[in-house]
Amino acid sequence: MSGAHDQLAGDAHDVARRIADGTQSAESTVGAALERARTDPFGCFEALDEEAALERARELDRARSGGASCGPLFGVPIAIKSNICVDGELTTCGSRLLAGHRSIYDATAVERLVAAGAVVVGTTRMDEFGMGSSGENCASGATTNPRTPAGGAARSPGGSSSGSAAAVAAGIVPLALGSDTGGSVRQPAAFCGVFGHKPTWGRVSRHGLVAFASSLDTIGTLARSARDLELALAVMAGPDGRDSTAFERTDLDRELAAPDARDANRPLAGLRLGVFDDSALTDVDPHVLERFTRTLERARELGAELVTVDLPHHRHGVAVYYVLAPAEASSNLARYDGVRYGRRVEAGTSLEDMMTATRTEGFGHEVTRRILLGTHVLSSGFYEAWFDRAARVRRAVADDFAAAFESVDLIATPTAPTTPFTLGEDVDPLVRYRGDALTIPASLAGLPAVSVPVDVEPGRTVGLQLIGPATADLSVLRAAAALRPDSVEATRGAAPGGSVQ
């Protein structure tokens, strides 16, 4: 085991504690993360900023020796998805169109993590503008799942927060930010065998998150323990004058301050856990279903009462999402016109020729498909049948959840219907869209959800999703901690091609 591994052992809590008590320095910790990132065989990073990260770490070490108090993430190296602004860093959103684009300010979430002592080591690869669930729709290349079986074909890390999930699974950083519009934190968390939290919409400011579908977009966290997700939320949550949908945090602070009154042996005692009737999970892979069911049994042993719930409009989630999200994207992505950001393709003689050439060459295939789909469902003659209707069915999906939460506290589902698929498969886009069926509904309703790793065996990773009522982020995270109180181990993984590193 190398020195670098020792520096990064455990979760963010462990790393921050060792730096705060002087066991290791921030500089050596960040140096260890950078060394791993430089030799990363999985392709997690879009860009590293080694000098800035090391300088920041040295500043923290100086502050500590000068007697400054240490924030809860003091010296902890973190990675940021490349659609979240970090001042001076590459923010490419995985797109050719934004190749070389650097942010000129920090996202509020990043600003708050840094204020708590975290050190950004780099930005991570992702499916272009968040559109994809395989990590393959990325201009700078696909990321590989670190939990690929030795000797097996490279597995997808999921997406769109592919690089962030893989970097956490590979032990390069203990904590990373992703974004989740329809499952883009939770599904890669499940595929890579780590924890992933999508907060209540409005819980974490979206200022500095590049917009994909604003009414669904959230910034979320990937980590190797549930307690790290709670810590990151405690740092990032709360109102922000630059995002008027970010709400205040009195409830969160009250819950964080309250003593944990749970019985250590039965921490889920009194919890009414909603589950679907088996017929609602017929599309789920047998291995996923087996691990899911086994974990529900564990929840019961820990005191939870399982209650069957019915969400009649849940099955329409994929259709609603793939009408509304492309519609919002077609509007949000109108800003990429070769005038203000990124790359311009000179063509023809007119402004319109230049804009058209820039967009046509700049956007990848999936993004083009979704812009066209979004433009279509908003067009005159089609708007009522698609966009307006989908927005109304979205209401029904949200109403179903509200009704279910009258009789249960949380709802459990598998996070994804399958284990990680092989990279490079040529599949119908509809197959991938249907893979989001279990994560989309919570996004449509703006609810908090977490993916808990319940199997981390390479090639067979499974996540269990817990969904809570609006604002109940802590209930969701604490139930996740009860189901899996320990940190998941990082993996040294199998390199692309299969040999164990």
Partner: protein, 142 residues
């Protein structure tokens, strides 16, 4: 670039124009061509045909949306929980000095009108900055 659209061969694999007896209207190739132009995307005929096929198939797969009775459902355009926009039930009286907007009693922050960006740095990221402005191809004849 967009001017050659009308000379392109008809697309294969797309259904006939118009609405069917029930369900949503299906897009015609000419509709999609116009929409691509509106979205400032120029597609060669092969890509246009393939994307057109995709759209028709994707929308066909979503046809079940047309079966839902939506007559009593209001559209949901953003999921901020209703309670969050309302005044806090047990809130302490707001500091009048901090109160800037009609939202001061809700759980949402008052907007911060200050700019987050520096003009010079903003222009550094632009493809063609000219004298402190964004440069574009000429749009007015000399």
């Amino acid at each position: 670039m967009a001017t050659s659209d009308d000379r392109r061969p008809p697309l294969k694999g797309t259904p006939d124009a118009g609405s069917r007896e029930s369900g949503a209207p299906h897009p015609e190739p000419s509709t999609l061509r116009r929409e691509a132009r509106l979205a400032r995307l120029a597609l060669d005929p092969q890509r246009e045909a393939s994307l057109s096929d995709d759209l028709v198939r994707i929308l066909a797969a979503f046809e079940s949306l047309q079966e839902v009775d939506v007559s009593n459902l209001e559209p949901l355009h953003q999921p901020l929980h209703a309670s969050l926009a309302e005044p806090l039930r047990h809130a302490a009286p707001t500091d009048p000095a901090a109160a800037g907007t009609s939202r001061r009693d809700s759980r949402l922050a008052a907007p911060d009108p200050t700019s987050a960006v520096d003009r010079a740095r903003l222009l550094e990221g632009a493809p063609e900055p000219i004298d402190g402005h964004f440069g574009v191809p000429r749009t007015i004849e000399q």
